[in-house]
Structure formats: C-alpha cells, structure tokens
C-alpha cells in the first residue's frame, strides 16, 4: 500500500505529469460531451498532429534551457523556408525524397549558423538576433515559394499520414526520437552542459564547459528540428504554404513551458513535450466539439495557456 502511494507521489513529483493529466482531462471532457462517440479517432488525430509540435518543441526546449533570454523566434520562418525549399526540389518525385530531406537539413544548418553568428558577432540578445534572422528567412521563403503549388512525393505523403491499426506511424517514430533526445539531454556531456549553462553560466564556464560551442550546437539543433518539422509538415499537408509555420511560434514555446521545462532555464524534460503537445491539440478539439465560435475559441486558447503558465510558474522545483 505504502509502495503504491510512494510510486504515486514520485509520479506526481515529475514536472511533466501535469501536462498529461491536463491532456487526459480535456480528452475526457470531449468524450463526455459526445457521449463516447469518436474517442479513439480524437486520440489518433491528437497523436498525428502533436508530432509536429513535439519536433519543434525539442529544439526550442534545448534553447530555452540555456537560460533567461534564450529563445529562438525564427522557428516559424525556418519551418516555412525548409518546407518550400524541399517541396520545390523534390517536385513530387519519390526518388528525390532523400535529396529534399538533405536540402531541408541544409536550410536548418545554414539558419542555425546564421543565428548563432548574429548572437556571437553582434553581441546581441538571442531574441533580437533570431527575430532579425526570422525577418530575412521569412522574406526568402516568400520570394522562393511564391506561386508554389507542388504536391509532395507520394511516398513522403504516405509515410507522414500512414496508420497501422489506428496508430500513426510518424508518431511512433517521433516517440522514438523523443526518447533518444531525452537520453541526449540527461546522459551526454552535451546535454548536461546545456543544463549546467542554464543553471549558472559563469559556474559552467569556470568548470571548463565549452559554453560557446554548446550554445552554437543548441541553436543549430533547434533550426534543424524546425527544418525537419517543415519537411514532414509539407509532406503531411499536401505541400508547402507560406503560412505553414505561423502557429508554431506560440506552439513551440508553449509546448516547452506547459511540459514542465523551466522558462528560467537549467531544468528540462522531454516527456512533457508530448503531454503538452497532446494537451494543446485536444484543447482546440474540445472547443470545436463544444461548437464555440472562432472568437471564443481564440479567447479560450489564450486564457488557458496563460492559466497553465501561471500555475506552472508557481512550481519552483521543476526538474
């Protein structure tokens, strides 16, 4: 009995548990409203769409963990550019899938280096650096992708939308990716360095951690994940569009914070990203199911995100 209670309380101590509980509560409310109809379909859809939030969330989480002032505002623009470039290059041919992927990754690599270069050379806060970069990347994407109406290769479209027994294949792959990144965060020198820098940059520097290299790697990784998201998203949604990255500015940050990662840096966890991504999707689904008007839906989304942040902000011992 005490063992059960002990296990339960260690589970409650985990910062990511709240995101999952929230997602479950919202799902339950939806199901109760529909009297049990479509519960499975809603979950499948949630896992399908949450994938993209999780991908950008992983990159953003590492950046935010670097400490106050670290956030990548160029994520939406990067998604759009990578999506446009890879879609145009692949030109709907299955044989070009790998080249398209490499092109998307190339975009990410270039943007990551550019972002870090601005931060380092101009000595400006990352928020301003990535914001300025985002302006330019956005313009590149608009100019490059104008009139772009190319379908993604069938193989990529099939892969991103495939389901086996109701389970989205892509979701399984990204769960695997999340596990790998969790190991990277908690068990590698690089991951521990990110956390150490977030907790006390000066101490980390004095302890011999290569702070600048770690920051470079983190910003580049964030851009790479955003590019991956853009690549997969263009396959999933039948092509690239100029506003495909729009909702990911809020989503990438919200998923990290709701997932229990400390906004002040130094404490992070990967499972929470999944919980928060599911929560965000199920929340919108719930409001849709309730038949809320567009305006009400927007207001509720905003208020609930703020509420979650207010509640999460009170937890000082996240980690």
């Amino acid at each position: 009995m005490t063992a059960v209670r002990g296990a339960w309380s260690t589970l409650l101590d985990k910062p990511w548990i709240w995101a999952f509980l929230g997602a479950f509560a919202v799902w339950l409310a939806t199901i109760v409203f529909t009297r049990g109809v479509g519960g499975g379909e809603v979950l499948t859809a949630a896992f399908t769409f949450a994938v993209f939030f999780v991908i950008v969330g992983i990159g953003q989480m590492f950046v935010i963990t670097l400490g106050p002032g670290n956030v990548d505002l160029s994520v939406p623009a990067t998604i759009t550019l990578a999506g446009a470039v890879s879609t145009k290059l692949m030109d709907s041919q299955d044989g070009m899938i790998l080249i398209g992927f490499m092109a998307a990754m190339g975009c990410g690599l270039g943007i990551g280096i550019f972002n870090y270069g601005l931060i380092r050379i101009l000595r400006i806060p990352p928020i301003i650096a990535t914001l300025s970069a985002a302006f330019i990347i956005q313009s590149l994407a608009i100019a490059y992708g104008r009139g772009l109406r190319i379908k993604p290769p069938d193989l990529l479209a099939d892969f991103t939308t495939a389901r086996i027994a109701g389970v989205p294949v892509l979701a399984v792959v990204i769960v695997g990716l999340a596990i790998v990144m969790s190991v990277v965060l908690n068990r590698t020198v690089y991951g521990r360095s990110v956390i150490a820098i977030g907790q006390n940059r000066r101490a980390a520097l004095l302890a011999g951690i290569t702070v600048e290299w770690t920051r470079f790697a983190t910003y580049t990784m964030c851009a790479l994940f955003a590019s991956l998201c853009g690549y997969l998203l263009s396959g999933f949604s039948g092509g690239a569009s100029l506003n495909m990255g729009e909702e990911y500015l809020l989503a990438s940050i919200a998923v990290v914070v709701i997932g229990g990662t400390s906004v002040a840096g130094g404490f992070a966890n990967v499972p929470g990203l999944w919980g928060a991504a599911l929560f965000m999707f199920l929340l919108v689904t719930m409001l849709n199911t309730f038949g809320a008007a567009a305006g009400i839906r927007l207001i509720m989304t905003g208020l609930i995100i703020i509420t979650v942040i207010v509640l999460a902000g009170g937890r000082r011992t996240s980690g």
Binding site: L131, F135, I136, A143, I296, V310
Partner: protein, 343 residues
Amino acid sequence: MGPSETRMELSQVGAPLPKRARVETASPLRAMMEMLVAPRTLRALLPAVSLAALLIAIFWLQPRTMSYMGLNLLLNLAIPIALATIAQMFILTVNDLDLSIGAYVGFCSCIAGTLLVEAPAYGVLALAGGIVAYAGLGALIHLRNLPSIVVTLGMSFVWLGIAVLILPRPGGTSPEWLRWLMTLRPEYLPFPIIAGIVIAVVVHFGLMRTAYGAILRGAGGNPRAIERAGWSLLKAKMTMYGLAGVFGMLAGLALIGLTTSADANIAARYTLLSIAGVILGGGEFVGGRVSPVGAVIGAITLTLAGSFLTFLQISPDWQVGATGAILILVLALRALISRAEAR
C-alpha cells in the same frame, strides 16, 4: 564627461602625468571634434543618421516626395507605428517583451470602429478595460515571475478573439473626430512630423526627465536597488504595462483615423515592427536603457524602408526581409562602435 572618459582616467591612474596634461591643453575645437567622434555620441546619433540616409535616398529616387503632400503621404502610417513602438518601449524598459501589441492595437481599432461610434460611453469603457487589463498583466507577470513572452503570446489570442467577436469581417467606421484629427493639414509642417515630435518630446520628458521616470527605468536597470530604496517594483511594472496599454490604444485610434475601417488583423505586423523600432532607435534589450526619441525615429525609419523598396521597384516580398537587414546593419554598426569604445 561620459563613461568612456572616466574609464580612460581610471586606466591612467599610475600613468605618467604629462600625457594627461596634454589632453587638458588641447584646443577647444579639438576637444569638440573629439567629443563628436566619441563612441557615445556616435551611438546616440546612429538612429538619426540612418533615418537621414534613408530620407535622402528616397528624395533622390523620387524627388516629388520632397513636398508637403509627399511627406504627408510618406509618413502618415508612421504615426500609429510610432505609438505602438513607444508602447513596446515601455515593456522593454522593464526587461519584458510584448508579443501581443499588434493584436491589442487591432482590438483597440475594432472597438474604436464600432462601439466608440455607436455607443461612445461603452466604447470608452471597453478601451479603459484594455488598459486595466494591461496593468493587471504587469502585476501578474511580476508577482508570479512569469515569462512575458508566453503570457503576452497567450494574450494576443485573447485580443484577437475579442476583436473577431466584435468585428467578424473588416468594417466599421472611424469616429468623426479621429478622422478630423488624422487628416489635419497644418501650415508649413505636415501633421505626421508634428505628431512624431509631440510623441517623442512628451514621452522623453515623462520617462527621461522626471523623478518617477528614473525610478521606472531603474526598475529595469537595477530592480534590486530600486526595491531596497523603498520603491515598489510592482507599482513600477504596473505603471509601465499600463502606459503600454495607453499608447497601444492611441496607436489603434490613430490607425482607424487613417484607414477609416477596422479589421481584427489590421495591425498584426506591429508586434515585430515595434520591437525592431525600439532596437533601431538605440534601445537595449536589457537594463532599462531606452530612448523615446530614438524609438520614434526607429519607427519612422521602418515605415520609410517600405516606401524605399517600393520606389526601387523591389517586390513587396522583400519588405520584411529589408526590415531584418536594416536591423542587422544597425546592430552591426552599434557593435563596431562599442568595440571601438572598449579599445
């Protein structure tokens, strides 16, 4: 004189005296020249110089803009952007960032385009509610030590949602008096220039020249010192957020006075433009170092950058990109100046 001078003197402690004597005997003219190329002066002049360069380029490309009407058309839309930039500046002063200002300006112009015309009392009440909400946000962010980015991103949904509820599709009309104000044609100086000067001077004196203004900036620069001196950080933050609400509202009013019809998404660009404007104008991201005059100049520069591209017949696709490029260019120049200062 400036901090650079102090540092020079400090570094000369223990240095042979004659060197210093030589500086003192320099001619007044040379001293003036030295002051003019001092990094501190250069940095302060940077926003004005960039604006002048852009203006000259536009005059050169399109000489017809060098007239009363030309300037009026060129600078009209700079008024709401300048007001929104000032709003953003208040938030940046206390080391926060407002990602909802664009949505809030849109909300205010929707209220002004509907309620303020149909039922003025309710309209005023709704706008006041917006300002109170802003002050409340400041309190919430301070008390719970929340990340302003996430809270204001959430709020942008709320403002947009309310605006969509009030005005599901573009429409509404501008109140008569706003239309009258925004289409004023004073003699000699075009209205946008007068408005710009008034905004810059009023905010400059309020924030840079009053005692409480110094406290407010201190709340961003050294919060602990301000708190130990017995000032309420909560009150300072609420004041700054409230002021941001006031100026965001003014931006919304100015905008609908110009466009005569409102739309929930009318000012979506303002969020990023306002941040860029503050930074261009010499504001720094941390430490309460901002410049109201610079912010207004920065906003005007960004507005003109759009026209500049149009005159160059460059596709509007590059409009946003140009904003980024200008931002990076100015920041690079500032980094160079700082490096020279450090030397």
